[in-house]
Symmetry: C2
Subunit: 446 residues, 2 copies
C-alpha cells in the first residue's frame, strides 16, 4: 500500500485522456501536488492508503477548467457599460474608468474577487492580460489558483507605464520575479495589432524567446480591426504577423473572429493556440469565429471568458454551452462541436494552448492535481444518460462542490478555503461605491 494525501472517488471520472474514457465508480489518488493514480475505485483503494478520503457519491469529477483569455481585474467593471459596440465600449467607457482607477491596490482586490468567481465555477487556471500583474500574481497565489499572467504592452501611456521602455522593463522584471513559481507563469501580452507597432511586436517576440515565456495577444476581434490592419500593412492580420516572424506555438491569440482560409492555414502551420471567447464576441456583436473550420484545419482552439465587463461573468461552463450551441447553428450542422469537443476545449486543449499540457488539463498520473468535483444530485441534472452533455449543456457553476489546485483543496463544499469570502465581497462593495460616484456616463443608471 502506498500512502497518499487524498483518495477522491466518484460515480463518474472523466480524465479527458486521449480515448476520452469514462470511469464509472472511479477514484483518483493524490500525493502532494500530483495525481499518482487514476482508475476503478476498487483498484485505487487496493493500491493506496490515504490520509483523506473524499466521497463522491452522485458526483462527477473532471479536470479543472482552463480560461485561456481574461482580464481578471475587470470584474470590478462588470456591467458598467452594456449593450454597446466594442470600440465605443472600449474607448468611451472602459479606458476612461481604467485610467481613473487602476492601481496595484485595485488589481489586488479585483483579482481576488475574480479568482473566487472562477474557482467556484471549476476554473483552476486562467490566462490574463492586464496591468500591475505583480499584484495579480501575489493575490492569485495567495488564493491558490494557477495562472499565466501577461503584462500588457501598448504604444500609448496608461496608468501602468508611460513609455515603451517602461512597459518592457515592467514586463522583464515581472517575468524574472515569477519564473519558476509553482502556480504563476509569467507572460508578455502585447494588446493588439492596432495598439502595438511592428517595432513593439518584434521586441515582444525577442523578449519572449530570450526569456522563454508565452505571448498573449488580441487578434482579429472586430471587422474594423482587420480593415485597419489591412490599410496600414496591406496584409491581413495573420499574414502580417507571419511576415514579421511573430507566430509560433508560444502565441495565444484571443478571439480570431475574422479570419480567411489562408489565415487559418497559417495558424495551423505555426501551431498558434486560439482562445475562443464566444459570449464576449456575441455580446459586443463582434462576430462569430470560424471555430469549426479551425478545428478541421487542425488549429488548437480553447475557451476564454474575456473580461467580465464584456460578458458579464467568468464562467467556462456557460462558455462551453454557448459555444457548442452557437456553432451548431453557425455551421448549419447539429453534429458540429459536440459536448465532448466542448469539454476538451475547456480542459486538455486549453492547457496545451497555454503550454501547460504536461502540467494540467487532464487527470493522468504525473500531472498536477487540478480537479473539480460537481454534484449531480440536482433537479436540473436528473436523470443522466450522457455525462458529457450534462456537464456542457446542463451544469451550473453552482453545482461545483470541490476544487483542488496543485493538490490543495481551495473550494470545499462550495466555499473558499484560502481566504474570507465575505471580506472579499465587502471590499468589492467599497470599490463599487467609489467607482459609481465617479461615473458620468448615462448608460449607467446608478
Amino acid at each position: 500500500m502506498i500512502s497518499v494525501d487524498y483518495i477522491i472517488n466518484a460515480d463518474y471520472i472523466l480524465p479527458m485522456d486521449e480515448s476520452l474514457s469514462i470511469i464509472k465508480n472511479g477514484a483518483i489518488a493524490v500525493k502532494g501536488p500530483s495525481i499518482v493514480g487514476v482508475g476503478a475505485k476498487d483498484e485505487i483503494f487496493k493500491r493506496y492508503i490515504a490520509s483523506n478520503i473524499i466521497n463522491g457519491e452522485s458526483k462527477v469529477v473532471f479536470p479543472g477548467l482552463i480560461n485561456t483569455h481574461t482580464h481578471a481585474a475587470m470584474v470590478y467593471f462588470r456591467g458598467i457599460a452594456d449593450d454597446l459596440p466594442l470600440k465605443e465600449w472600449l474607448e468611451n467607457h472602459i479606458w476612461p474608468v481604467e485610467n481613473r482607477w487602476l492601481s496595484p491596490e485595485f488589481i489586488t482586490d479585483a483579482v481576488e474577487l475574480a479568482c473566487v468567481e472562477m474557482l467556484k465555477g471549476g476554473i483552476t487556471t486562467y490566462n490574463d492580460m492586464y496591468f500591475f500583474e505583480d499584484a495579480a500574481a501575489r493575490v492569485t497565489k495567495k488564493i491558490g489558483m494557477r495562472a499565466v499572467l501577461g503584462v500588457g504592452i501598448l504604444d500609448f501611456p496608461t496608468k501602468s507605464a508611460s513609455t515603451s521602455d517602461e512597459y518592457f522593463s515592467n514586463a522583464e522584471v515581472f517575468i524574472k520575479d515569477w519564473q519558476g513559481d509553482s502556480l504563476i507563469i509569467p507572460c508578455i501580452a502585447p494588446h493588439a495589432l492596432y495598439t502595438c507597432s511592428s517595432e513593439t511586436l518584434k521586441r515582444v517576440r525577442k523578449v519572449a524567446d530570450f526569456m522563454n515565456v508565452p505571448i498573449h495577444i488580441h487578434l482579429s476581434e472586430t471587422r474594423w480591426e482587420v480593415e485597419e490592419i489591412k490599410r496600414r500593412h496591406r496584409m491581413s492580420p495573420v499574414e502580417y504577423l507571419e511576415d514579421i516572424g511573430f507566430l509560433d506555438e508560444r502565441v495565444v491569440a484571443a478571439h480570431c473572429v475574422w479570419l480567411d482560409d489562408s489565415e487559418i492555414e497559417i495558424l495551423a502551420k505555426r501551431k498558434v493556440g486560439i482562445s475562443h471567447c464566444i459570449e464576449s464576441n456575441l455580446k459586443l456583436s463582434s462576430g462569430i469565429a470560424p471555430v469549426v473550420e479551425m478545428l478541421k484545419a487542425g488549429v488548437k482552439v480553447s475557451l476564454g471568458t474575456d473580461g467580465a465587463a464584456s460578458n458579464n461573468d467568468l464562467n467556462i461552463l456557460s462558455e462551453m454551452s454557448t459555444a457548442a450551441k452557437v456553432h451548431k447553428t453557425y455551421a448549419e450542422d447539429p453534429t458540429a462541436l459536440d459536448a465532448k469537443t466542448a469539454l476538451l476545449m475547456a480542459t486538455r486543449w486549453g492547457a496545451e494552448v497555454l503550454g501547460l499540457g504536461n502540467i494540467t488539463g487532464s487527470i493522468l498520473e504525473g500531472k498536477s492535481a487540478d480537479i473539480v468535483i460537481a454534484n449531480l444530485k440536482k433537479p436540473h441534472l436528473m436523470p443522466i444518460y450522457n455525462i458529457y452533455s450534462h456537464i456542457v449543456y446542463s451544469m451550473l457553476s453552482s453545482d461545483v462542490e470541490m476544487v483542488m489546485v496543485n493538490g490543495k483543496i481551495v473550494i470545499n463544499d462550495g466555499k473558499l478555503t484560502t481566504a474570507d469570502e465575505s471580506e472579499i465581497l465587502f471590499k468589492a462593495r467599497m470599490w463599487n461605491e467609489k467607482i459609481s460616484t465617479s461615473l458620468s456616463c448615462p448608460q449607467v443608471p446608478y
Copy 2:
C-alpha cells in the same frame, strides 16, 4: 394600518411596469394571493402591517419568470440523444422513447421534477404541450406552480389517443375539468402544421373559440417544415394559417424561426404571441428566429425553453442571456435586444403572450403575487452598476432564494416547500434506470 400576510423588502425591486422603474429600498405587500402594495420601503411599512416580513438585504426582487414553451415531462429524456438534427432526433429517438414510456404515472413524476427545476430558477408560470395533461395539472397544482397546459393533438396515434375523435374528446374533458382553476389554465395544443391536417386545425380553432381557451402550436421551426408546408399548400406556414382563419391573439406560436417579412406582418396584425426558444433552436441547428425584426414590427415575443431533451435545461435566466447575446451578433448591432428587453420578454410580455397579462408578469397592485427574490451577495454578481444587466447576463438560477406563486411561498432559502425534493430525485433515478435499460441507440453510452 392595513393588515397583510407578507411584506417583502429588498435593495432593488423591478416591477417591470410600463416605465420600467427601479425601486431602490423598496417593498411589496401581499395579502392572500394578491399584491396589494408596491413602493418605497418606508411607505409600505407605514401603510401595512404584516404577519411575515421577508428581509431582502442585498437582494433583488423581480416578477416570476414565464416559460412560454415547454414539454415539461421531457425532463426525463434530458440528454437522451444530443448533437443530432431535429428530424432525426424527433423521429428516431424521441418518438420511440415516448411510445415506449409515456403514461400518467410517467407524466406525474417527470412533471414534478420539471416544476422543481423551473421554480428553483425563478419560473412561476409555464406553457406546456404534451400528453396526459390531467396528470401534469394535478402535480403542478400540488407543487404550487402556475401553468397553461395544452393537450397535444396529432393526426397519428400515440400513447395518449388512437383517433382524432379521441384526441379531441381528451382535450375537451381536460378543459372542462380544469377551467376556472386558480393555477391551471387548460389549453389545446395542435402539434404542428406538418402533423395536423387542415381539418384538424380548423376543428382546434372551433373548440378553442367555443371553450374560450388558448391555442399552443409549433410553427416554422425548421427549414424542412416550411418547405413541406409550401409543397402541400402552396403557401408559407403563416399565410396558410391565416388562410384557414386560424390566427388571433389566442394563439401562442413556438419557434417561428423561418419567417418572411409578410409573415411577420400577419403575426403582428393578428396579435399572435411568439415563444422564442433560442437555446433549443441553436442546439438542434434549426436556425435563428428574426426576433429583432418581429419586435420592430410590433409582434409580442416571449421566451421558452422547449423541452429538456433539446436544451438541456428549463432555465429562463439562461435563455435571456443567450437571446440577448445572440441577437446582437445576428442583427450586427450590439444595442439590439438589450437587457431590459430580454427581461420584459421573460416576464410581462410572456404573461401577455399567454393571455395572463392581468394576472402575472409584473409586480403591480391587484396582480397575483408571483414573485422572485435573488441574492446579489455572490462573487459573480459583484459589484453592481446596472441591475438589469446583472439579472440577464450574470445571474444563475442558483441565485434565486425565494419564489412565491399566487401569494404562497414555494421556494424558501432555495428549497422546495411543497414536496420532498429528495423523493422527487429518487423517483427520477428509478425512472432513469428503467429507461436506460430499454435504450438501444448508440448515441447513448449508458
